[in-house]
Symmetry: C2
Subunit: 143 residues, 2 copies
């Protein structure tokens, strides 16, 4: 084996209330896969999967010590085509129940970005980055 393929198959967020978390992401317009159930929710994302799982169950699954929610040290970015689209996405997320953590603004690296938190405090950055192109399917590349 020469190395791992550069691939994230599933991003799983630990949540404290599955019904609350799932309904938040459904209000963003996403459809849960039929394999979802009371304990786990999956959303297909063009070749990868976004999952929700009990925060305590996730710690038990990995056999690590459980801590209550705090700063996770992880952010998920949803990149957009324009500053206007960033504003629209942030407004849409807020209407769906997201907490606006940082309103969108021009940022030091030359883009435009804001942050919202989901009901469990997980951070999503909504960004327009003129240096990281998106193709017609929304797939991003770092130069």
């Amino acid at each position: 084996m020469k190395g791992l393929e550069p691939r994230i198959s599933i991003v799983t967020l630990g949540v404290d209330d599955m019904k609350r978390a799932r309904s938040f992401y459904e209000r963003l317009g996403w459809t849960a896969a039929s394999s979802s159930n009371d304990d786990v929710t999956f959303f297909n994302m063009a070749g990868m999967v976004f999952g929700l799982y009990g925060r305590r169950a996730l710690a038990e699954d990995a056999q690590v010590e459980y801590f209550p929610a705090a700063f996770t040290g992880v952010s998920l970015a949803h990149n957009c085509e324009s500053e206007q689209q960033v504003d629209e996405v942030m407004a849409f997320a807020e209407a769906a129940g997201a907490k606006i953590v940082k309103p969108p603004e021009k940022v030091f690296w030359g883009g435009y970005s804001g942050y919202f938190a989901d009901p469990d405090g997980h951070l999503w950055e909504v960004a327009y980055n003129p240096f990281f192109p998106l193709d017609e399917e929304g797939r991003i590349t770092a130069p």
Copy 2:
């Protein structure tokens, strides 16, 4: 706007020592994009980007309170084609400096999975899931 496209553009992990973190992922066999620098590292992953950024800088960027590393409540899964490949990936990661958090074993949902932690404690699950097919490019779908 009817909703957000189901898309994660970038997964960013907050790290305490960029050089240590970057070299760990390079030892997994991944090549940093040329846009990487002392403060940030990007790895292209077939239409999405995996990033490393200072843990404290990430908190400042999102304007949230900083906490030192603990259980993050997030896991990233790297899914494989077989149980044997899970064992190989776990052994490769351990040789690259990963901490084995849970050795691979058969798990209650019918698959086979282990967990390792990167040098900052971020959890990666390495899994074979017979119910979630991978296509020839390694792209996964939840049924």
